[in-house]
Amino acid sequence: MLEEARSRWHPIAAAHDLPFRHVFHGQLLGREFAVWRADDGYVNIWENRCLHRGVRLSIGINDGRELKCQYHGWRYSNRTAGCTYIPAHPADAPARTITNRTFPAVERYGLVWSSEEPRGEVPEIAGLAEGKLLALRGIAVNAPADKVVERLRAYRFQPNGAIDGEGADILVEAAQDFAVALRSRASSAETQGVFFVQPVDSNRSVIRGVLDQEAEGAARIAILRHHNERLSKLRDEVERDVANAPAPAPLEPVYERVSAELAEMPEVTTHGRKAALRVSVARKWQAADGIAGFELRPIKGILPTFQPGAHIDVHMPNGEIRQYSITNGPGETDSFTIGVKLERDSKGGSKCMHETVREGDVLAISEPRNNFPLRRDAIKTLFVAGGIGITPLLAMAQALKNQELAHELHYFAQGEEHLAFADRLKHLGDALKPHLGLSPDATGAELRQLLAGYRNGMHLYICGPGPMLEAARKIAAEQGWPDSAVHFEYFKNTNKIDDSSSFEVALARSCVTLQVPAGKTIMQVMRESGIDVPSSCEQGACGTCVATLIEGEPDHQDVYLNDAERKAGTKIMTCVSRAKSARLVLDI
């Protein structure tokens, strides 16, 4: 019977077991769950085990958006259960595929239902009207579910309206493997009680009763006490019944193995310029003067996990592909919100998004990629945003705000009406420092002031138009910020790409040597040879196509690497950069 039970829905908690920011320890058929409600109302039912070292997530911390493991502080996102941050490696974005096992959750009859491999729907109970019910306190019984059901068929209780009386008539309306429906009548009073039996393990159960009428105040307490006393007595009887029989062996849960790839902790995942996801534009609005906001919802299933700083490729109806940063805060995983600025010299990207794309349209997007990861081990983090450069930094600031880590968001814009995503900005409180209407010179002076006072352990993130970004990087360097503490993301590469050189590229791990002629990129040549290269912007700005350089002198033409990384000569962007030497050896 228990094997068959795996494909059924069972209650695993009462809705009231999930109060604000609590993590409930649930169990079904020997398997433990960490059950938690995010602030957006979503109920998460996860394997009760951190993927890292097996510590129970039910002792973790629910911050309303993410669940943080106690042991090493790994953070898992609401809804997707994907890991968004690994504190031991603050400079890395965790592999997106580190995702905990989730189980379906349905709230019904004041209970939370789940199943290991559900077939069909949560049972439909005639007479139980949603919202007008009273869920009783769960009664744990050390006995197999079928023994509990057997005793429940003879359970006697008073209807709500005659709770102090005695001798009500009881009618068994229905009885199944894991539930008994009873009706209690005494003169004019009548109450239906449905008693579900949750098979916790082979020899443990929980009785979860639901009455068809709600009650308030003292009456409610009296009803709850009435059932609590009687069900406790029933529990004692069942436990006496089974005391002499040998207890069945506990069920052994099977834990899924992590992927071979994860077991080896790969540095970078490879994928081409693909758009595997389909989203619909749930909302389009004016997020600021000249900036359109788009809320993108999945057509089916759920969106993959993102981290602050991540971007998606949006494939537009006109065939153009553009990158947009995700502005969401942690745990906001039901949609992606992006901001698109209408560029005056638009070649069709932002123009299409502004003029053609409407609410309800379907777009193809790539999975989120994070080449601008946020460290969370800084003693203080400064964000410097210029104009639409706010988008990745907004996601980052919300993440730090959520963890109560020290940060300031300096937002440079032409005027109040140009500040995008006012609703999100408002939540940042005092950390938001707008700098409005400044000339380039005044901006420089302001930056000099706010970048003074660098201390070891501080980190700076900059995103904005090229000239401002250059100025901020220069000023930071002058003020003593080391390259390793300054992180930046360009919107685009405005360098003029010189593709006149020709050279040889040896791929060390693939054991092939390719000729790169003038006019073609390393990436194009690799793809022509059937080698899958991940890419996104393909103009040297986003960092997706980075390759490790083993030998040779690179001709960097990107804007992703910082000066120290360029000097080190160990990385190259294969979409635009080339060789000064006759030969490059890449670790591909």
């Binding site: 993927l51 097996g54 129970r56 502080g73 504190p87 031991a88 992590v258 077991a263």
Partner: protein, 285 residues
């Protein structure tokens, strides 16, 4: 889980079964080793270890203030700790602490720096200083797992520390259930304080940790050393007892390692290579 141990590596080795201080004259002290129930007796200052099932008197020894026994013929001597011979050190036990988890998990936790800011908050670590920088791991010619150049920022690294600083560690797994930690002494810079964690495998899912502390005396008293160790271990215990499954999985795909876990990855591989199965879930082949 009182399954029988078949690992020669463990059956033919010495294990701690009691702290000598916890024994009273003629009061039997019951304990368990590798699933075998034992009684330790002290009679006219002679100590005897007896198996409950067979009544056999086992080979026993007293060293470092502990009672040791071996269930079979010992293949090698009790671990030698040179620092225990240095007169200017406190040589104290941190207390025998029972933990409801495989002793191998306890050893692995002892090797782990990443949890300091979250479990030993304000002492051995503190957010946001969470980064585990790369360190070196090797197998020594004596077949021990050795991790060197381990560095971590600690607000109160030792009972006498007044301010936070980056502490350097060396870890050494000496035997499957024994691990040592060497930590630079804050006063005598050239010398190291040593903590050796002897884990008594009670059964596959229970252990008793016996930390043995060799701390330089200068500026420190023995009670402080001991209470600091107990504070730290008390913080680890509830986490260890919430690890699922309780035994240490040796399948590389059972859990998700990261670079910070380089030493535990080596430890698990080392256990696999030595065919240690007691307290472990063997790798699927």
């Amino acid at each position: 889980m009182a399954t029988h141990c078949v690992d020669r590596e463990l059956l033919n080795d010495w294990h701690i079964v009691a702290d000598q201080e916890s024994l009273s004259q003629d009061v039997p002290f019951s304990t368990r080793l590798l699933g075998v129930d034992l009684v330790v007796r002290k009679h006219s200052n002679k100590i005897e270890v007896v198996r409950n099932d067979t009544g056999d008197v086992l080979k026993s020894a007293e060293r470092y203030g502990f009672v040791w026994t071996c269930l079979d013929k010992p293949w090698r001597d009790i671990i030698y700790i040179p620092e225990a011979n240095e007169a200017d050190r406190h040589l104290v036990s941190g207390g025998s602490i029972a933990v409801k988890v495989s002793g191998l998990r306890a050893v692995e936790n002892f090797l782990d720096m990443g949890h300091f800011p979250f479990i030993h908050t304000g002492w051995l670590g503190e957010e946001p200083h969470t980064e585990v920088v790369p360190y070196k791991v090797e197998i020594t010619p004596q077949d021990e797992v050795l991790a060197t150049e381990c560095k971590f920022y600690q607000p109160i690294a030792s009972p006498t520390a007044k301010e936070g600083f980056v502490v350097e560690y060396i870890y050494k797994v000496i035997r499957p259930y024994t691990v040592a930690l060497y930590k630079s002494n804050p006063i005598q810079k050239g010398r190291l304080d040593v903590i050796t964690l002897f884990v008594q495998p009670v059964d596959e899912e229970n252990c008793v940790a016996h930390p043995y502390l060799c701390y330089l005396k200068e500026g420190m008293d023995a009670a402080t050393v001991r209470s600091f160790m107990q504070l730290i271990f008390a913080q680890d215990k509830p986490i260890l007892e919430n690890q699922v499954p309780k035994r240490l999985p040796l399948d590389p795909r059972a859990e998700t390692p990261i670079r910070a876990d380089a030493v535990s990855v080596s430890y698990r591989r080392w256990l696999r290579d030595r065919a240690v199965t007691y307290g472990a879930i063997p790798a699927q082949i």
